[in-house]
Symmetry: C2
Subunit: 125 residues, 2 copies
């Protein structure tokens, strides 16, 4: 039989770090900057693809690209504190943010961020 | 009570004109040419829209435009002989084909084509 405290320990949200007010400010800045860069990159890619359209099939390729990227970005940029360490870990792994940008976050955030980035790198290897 | 012959007359496919081999050749040429022009126009519009993208919202506008136009073109270019007079009628109304291109079709096709074009014009007025 499980004791009440053991049940509490296994509850997934119990181990989540608490974000201080200053950390939340850092997180918001980092998040917005990365999203802005990714969208800017997408604008450049879209212009390039459109410039190279020669035949009707290229139109549907562009449509497909836009839909896929929109969904991918929607999924990736999830600003919930319960998700942020994974979000930043992924952005770090994708080199969409630099470690220095995370300055101001405490070790209880930085550790899972780095750890998730490392996991993704190893997973992709 | 309806007599068997009256029932037969009201059966929708009974009044459809029969397309001769030479008329089918004309129809195919006209259809393909109009579709090609419309897709070419869409390529130009897409390039123009892409060139004018300034912010992320413009990306989703372009995606929406491509999806809508794809569906519209799919619906419009329906190469079934049962649909062709309406298809050509619509293209005539939209000035996407010229009357002269329909040369070679017999009056039993031209009449419903013109009539549907006229109906759409009046409906839009």
């Amino acid at each position: 039989m499980t004791s009440p405290s053991a049940t509490q320990d296994s509850y997934p949200y119990q181990n989540e770090p608490i974000w201080s007010r200053s950390e939340k400010a850092v997180a918001r800045t980092v998040f917005d900057a990365a999203l802005k860069r990714e969208l800017h990159e997408m604008i450049q890619e879209t212009k390039q693809m459109a410039n190279q359209i020669n035949e009707p099939a290229d139109l549907w390729d562009l449509e497909h690209y836009l839909t896929q990227r929109r969904k991918e970005i929607d999924r990736k940029y999830d600003y919930r504190y319960s998700q942020l360490t994974q979000v930043f870990g992924r952005l770090l792994y994708e080199k969409r943010l630099r470690q220095e940008e995370l300055r101001g976050l405490r070790e209880d955030k930085l550790k899972p961020i780095r750890s998730f980035a490392k996991f993704l790198a190893e997973d992709a290897a």
